[in-house]
Symmetry: C2
Subunit: 499 residues, 2 copies
C-alpha cells in the first residue's frame, strides 16, 4: 500500500500514529504519545466497544446504536472500511483497490447499501472473454447457459463436471457447522488440490478447477482444506437459495455481477458518517482486559470500558492483541490457523477502454502469470478505461522478489497477451498488495487449511466471556465476502445486546 | 500450566509481571510499571540482543559471548528454558513437563549438555510394551531388529512398508531447502493423511502410520503437509547419517533413547548461570525498531539497543511483536502459517513403578484416547514410579471441554487399560497443557500445513535487516527437537557475528 494511500486521512485529520512511527525517532515519540493517552486519559464508557471499523464493525456498531445503546468503535487505521478502499484516479473518479463486487443473494449488504444511499451498477460484461493458455489466445463467449462462461479448453467439460460434483457435496455442508457434515472428516483431511487431482485427469480440467478455487481465496488449491471450499460454495447463497460454485466465480449471476457507485468503501464511509464521533481512528487496540462485570479495551488513543466487546478483523491480526485473561487455548490456536490469502490488485488506467471497441469484455483467464485474471474496472461511464488484474496465491508470493519495474512489465505483458499492444502503455499503473498492510496482512480473508474446521470450527464464533467475534473470515452465509462481514457484525451485535 | 509453576521464579525473584497481570486492577498497575521501565529507563547497549531464553536463545547468546561480544537476552517468562521445564514431585525429584529426550545423532545438544555438566541416562526400556487396540490389550517385545518395536497388529507390516517408503523419499529432501526436492510440489500439495490413505489399506496400517506422524507434531496427520513429514524424517540424522522415521519414533536407537539427569531444563539453567545478568526475565518483547545502523528492542523491563538481534521462539508467538519497519509480507504471512501443535503431558506418580515388576517397560500404544502413548518417566533410580501419558492432536483439542475430574479419570482409565487397576490411584496426578502458556501456545513446535514450505520456506531463516531468526521450529538438522534449537541458535549467532 503506498504511503499516499495509508496516510490519507479519509475521516480523520493528521497522519496516523502507526504510519508516523516508521522511523526510530518518530517511533519513540509516537509511543510516548500513545501510552500517555491510553494509560492516563480518562476511559470512555459505553455499552459496547467494537474493535475495527470495517464492514463487520460498522454494521455491529450501527445495530447497537439503533437499539439505543452506546457504542465506541476503535480503528487502527486512519480510515474506515477495512478491506474495502477507494483510490482516486483523477478527474473525480475512483477505483476499488480492495473488495468491490456484489452479486445475487448478497441481500444484506445490498439492503444496507441501499439504505445508506449507495447505488450499484453492473460490472462491464459485454462481448467476449479471453482465454490465454500455453501461449495461445482465444476469445470466447461469456454467455453459455450453465457455467456462465466456459473457456475453450478441452478440459472445460471435465472442470464443469468437477464443479457440479462440488455443488452436490456442498449441499451436505451446513454453513454454520461444516464440521458436522457426514463426510466432514474425509473432506477436511485433504487439500482442495488433492480432491481436484483425484477427480480430474486433463491438464485443462485441472488448471480451470484449481483456478476456480484459487480465485476465491487468493491462495493455491494446495493451501486450502477441501471442506473449506465446500463451505464457501455452500455459503454462496442465502437462507432460501443453495450456494453454487458458479455463483462464486461468475460475473453475470455471480459474485462479480455488480459494483457500487462511488465504489465499495462508500458503504463504510456512509455508515461512518452516521456513527460520527463514536468512531476513534488511528487507535490500534493493544489489550483487552475482562472482569466478571466489564471489559476494558486499551488502544493507542483511547481506553474504553464497556459491558460487551465485539472484535472484528482478520484472525491473524486479532492474534496480536494481548488478552487478559488469556484467550482459551482453542481460540488462541484457531488464530494461529487461519492464514490470510495473498492478493495483489494491479490497475492500469487508459484514456479509454479500448478493448470494448474490439468487442471484448475486459475479462480474461491466463496461465502465464503473474496475473491470471482481469476485469474491466472502469467507472460507470467507461471513462477512463481501467483494467484490473489479480496477482494471487503463489504468484503474489514470488512477486515481491521482482523490482517495481519488473512487476509492472510482467503484469502489462499479461494485459498485452490478453488485449494487444495498446495495453502496454497505460497512463497510470499501480499495485495494491494487501499483504503489506499492517492491519490486514493479506486478502481476501483468513481461510482454513486442512484439519482446522474439524477441530477448531466450533470455536469460530463462540463468545469468550464478554467478547464476541465478527468478520467476513468467520461469517456463515457469504463467508469471505462483504455480505458475510455485514451479517457477522449484526449477529455479534445481537449477541452483545442480548448478553 | 498451573499457577504454582509459572509463578515460580527459577532464576528471578518475584512473580512475573505477565503472571501478576491477570486481574484488571493488577494489569493496570503492571502496565504502568512496565511502560515506565521500558520507555523511560536508559536503554542498555549490546552488540547483540537475543529475544527468548529457551535453548536456541541461550545457545545463541553463549556463542556471542564466547566471541567476546556483549549480549543481552530478553525473556518473557520468569524462567529460562522455553519449552523445557522441570516440575518438582517431592523428595528432591523432578520430572520433565516439557521437552525431555535426547537420542543418537543429536550431537550438538549432547555435546553442549556434557560441557555444561548435565549427564544423561537411558529412558527405562526393559521388558514388554503394551498394544491396546479395539479394547484388546497385547504385550509385545520392544526389541525387533528393523522398526525397533513392531506392534502386534495385522497392519504392522503395511505400516512398516509405508515408513520404509517415507524413508526413501526423505533422502531426496534437503533439510535446508525441502522446497527444492524434485517432487516438492507433489508432496507439499497434500496432507500426510492423504499420502497415508493412498499407501495403506488396512485399519491397523493406517492407525499406526497416522500415529507415527501425530506423535512427531502433537497434531493429526491431516494437519501436516506430507513434505513437512519428509523434512522431519530427513532431519532426524546428522551431517553424515541420513534421517529415518525410526529414529524419530523409537526409544532404543531413537529420539526417545535418553533423558537428562536433573531433567532437560537443566541444560538451560546451567547455560543461564554462565550468562548471569545478561539475561533479563519477566520482560516480554513488544517492539523491534530497526534503522540503518542499529536495532532497538523494547521489552517490559528493558530496552536494548544493539547492532544485531536474534529472535527465537514459536512463529505464532513472534507474530505478536510490533516490528518497525513492518516485517516483509512473506515473513509476516509465514508467521500466520506455522501453527503450534497440541500437546498435553499427563503425569501420574506412584510409590513405585509397579509395571516394571510385571515385566513391562511402561511404554504403550492405544487407540482409545485421550492418551494414546505412555512412557516410564521415573527418576533414574526408579523411585517414585512415574507414568507419562501424551494427549495430543485432536484429543488435546477436545480435552478442554472436559472437567478436571473427567480429564483425570479418562487418562487414568488409559493407564489402567495398559497397566492394570494399580494405575487408577496414583499418589499425584498433574497435566501440563502447553497451549495454555502465553509464550508458547502449543507444543511441540510450529509446523507447516500444505503449501507453506513451497511458497514460504525460503523465508524461514532469511534475515530481516539486522534481525536474525532461530528456534527448533525453523531448524534444519533435528528440526522440531532440542538439538535443532541449539543448532539454530548457533547458526543465527554466527550470522549476527558476521554481520
Amino acid at each position: 500500500m503506498s504511503e499516499s494511500v495509508t496516510r490519507r486521512g479519509l475521516l480523520g485529520g493528521a497522519a496516523g500514529v502507526a504510519a508516523a512511527a516508521s522511523l526510530p525517532g518518530d517511533a519513540e515519540a509516537a509511543k510516548k504519545r500513545s501510552h500517555r493517552k491510553s494509560s492516563k486519559a480518562r476511559p470512555r464508557r459505553a455499552d459496547v466497544v467494537v474493535v475495527g471499523a470495517g464492514l463487520a464493525g460498522l454494521a455491529a456498531a450501527e445495530k447497537v446504536a439503533a437499539a439505543g445503546r452506546s457504542v465506541v468503535v476503535l480503528e487502527a487505521r486512519d480510515r474506515v472500511g477495512g478491506r474495502t478502499l477507494n483510490r482516486d484516479i483523477g478527474g473525480g473518479e475512483v477505483v476499488e483497490i480492495g473488495g468491490q463486487w456484489i452479486g445475487p443473494t448478497q441481500d444484506v449488504i445490498a439492503g444496507w447499501a441501499k439504505e445508506l444511499g449507495v447505488e450499484t451498477f453492473k460490472t462491464y460484461n459485454e462481448g467476449n472473454y479471453i482465454y490465454h493458455r500455453g501461449g495461445r489466445r482465444t476469445p470466447y463467449t461469456a454467455n453459455t447457459p450453465v457455467l456462465g462462461a466456459i473457456p475453450p479448453d478441452p478440459g472445460a467439460a471435465e472442470a464443469g463436471a468437477a464443479l457440479a460434483q462440488i455443488n452436490e457435496m456442498a449441499r451436505e455442508v451446513p454453513v454454520d457447522a461444516p464440521w458436522t457434515a457426514a463426510r466432514a472428516e474425509e473432506w477436511d483431511s485433504q487439500t482442495a488440490y488433492t480432491w481436484i487431482r483425484e477427480h480430474t485427469a486433463s491438464d485443462g480440467g485441472r488448471f480451470l478447477t484449481d483456478l476456480g478455487v484459487s480465485l476465491v481465496y487468493a491462495a493455491e488449491a494446495r493451501d486450502v482444506s477441501f471442506l473449506q471450499v465446500l463451505l464457501n460454495v455452500a455459503a454462496a447463497g442465502n437462507e432460501t437459495t443453495p450456494g453454487t460454485f458458479e455463483r462464486l466465480i461468475n460475473t453475470a449471476g455471480g459474485a462479480q455481477e455488480s459494483r457500487f457507485v462511488g465504489v465499495a468503501q462508500r458503504v463504510s464511509l456512509e455508515a461512518a458518517k452516521r456513527l460520527g464521533r463514536r468512531i476513534v481512528l488511528r487507535s490500534p487496540v493493544r489489550r483487552i482486559v475482562q472482569s466478571a462485570s466489564q471489559v476494558r479495551v486499551e488502544s493507542d488513543r483511547a481506553t474504553v470500558i464497556a459491558r460487551r466487546c465485539i472484535v472484528t478483523g482478520p484472525p491473524a491480526v486479532t492474534a496480536r492483541i494481548d488478552f487478559q485473561p488469556l484467550l482459551p487455548t482453542l481460540r488462541a490456536q484457531l488464530l494461529q490457523r487461519m492464514p490470510q490469502g495473498s492478493a495483489i490488485k494491479c490497475h492500469a488506467i487508459y484514456d479509454r477502454p479500448f478493448w470494448r471497441e474490439e468487442g471484448l469484455a475486459g475479462q480474461a483467464v491466463g496461465d502465464r502469470g503473474p496475473c491470471r485474471v482481469t476485469f474491466d474496472n472502469s467507472p460507470p461511464d467507461g471513462s477512463p478505461g481501467v483494467l484490473l488484474g489479480f496477482v494471487e496465491g503463489t504468484f503474489a508470493r514470488s512477486f515481491s522478489a521482482l523490482s517495481e519495474a519488473q512487476r509492472r512489465d510482467a503484469v502489462l505483458q499479461n494485459f498485452v497477451d490478453f488485449y494487444g499492444e495498446q495495453a502496454r502503455r497505460p497512463r497510470a499503473y499501480f499495485e495494491t498488495n494487501w499483504g503489506e498492510e499492517e492491519w490486514t496482512r493479506g486478502c481476501f480473508v483468513g481461510f482454513c487449511p486442512p484439519g482446522v474446521l474439524l477441530d477448531y470450527g466450533r470455536e469460530m464464533r463462540a463468545p469468550f466471556g464478554r467478547v464476541h467475534w465478527a468478520g467476513a473470515d468467520i461469517a456463515t452465509i457469504w463467508n469471505a465476502y462483504m455480505d458475510g462481514a455485514v451479517r457477522s457484525g449484526r449477529r455479534a451485535a445481537a449477541e452483545a445486546l442480548a448478553g
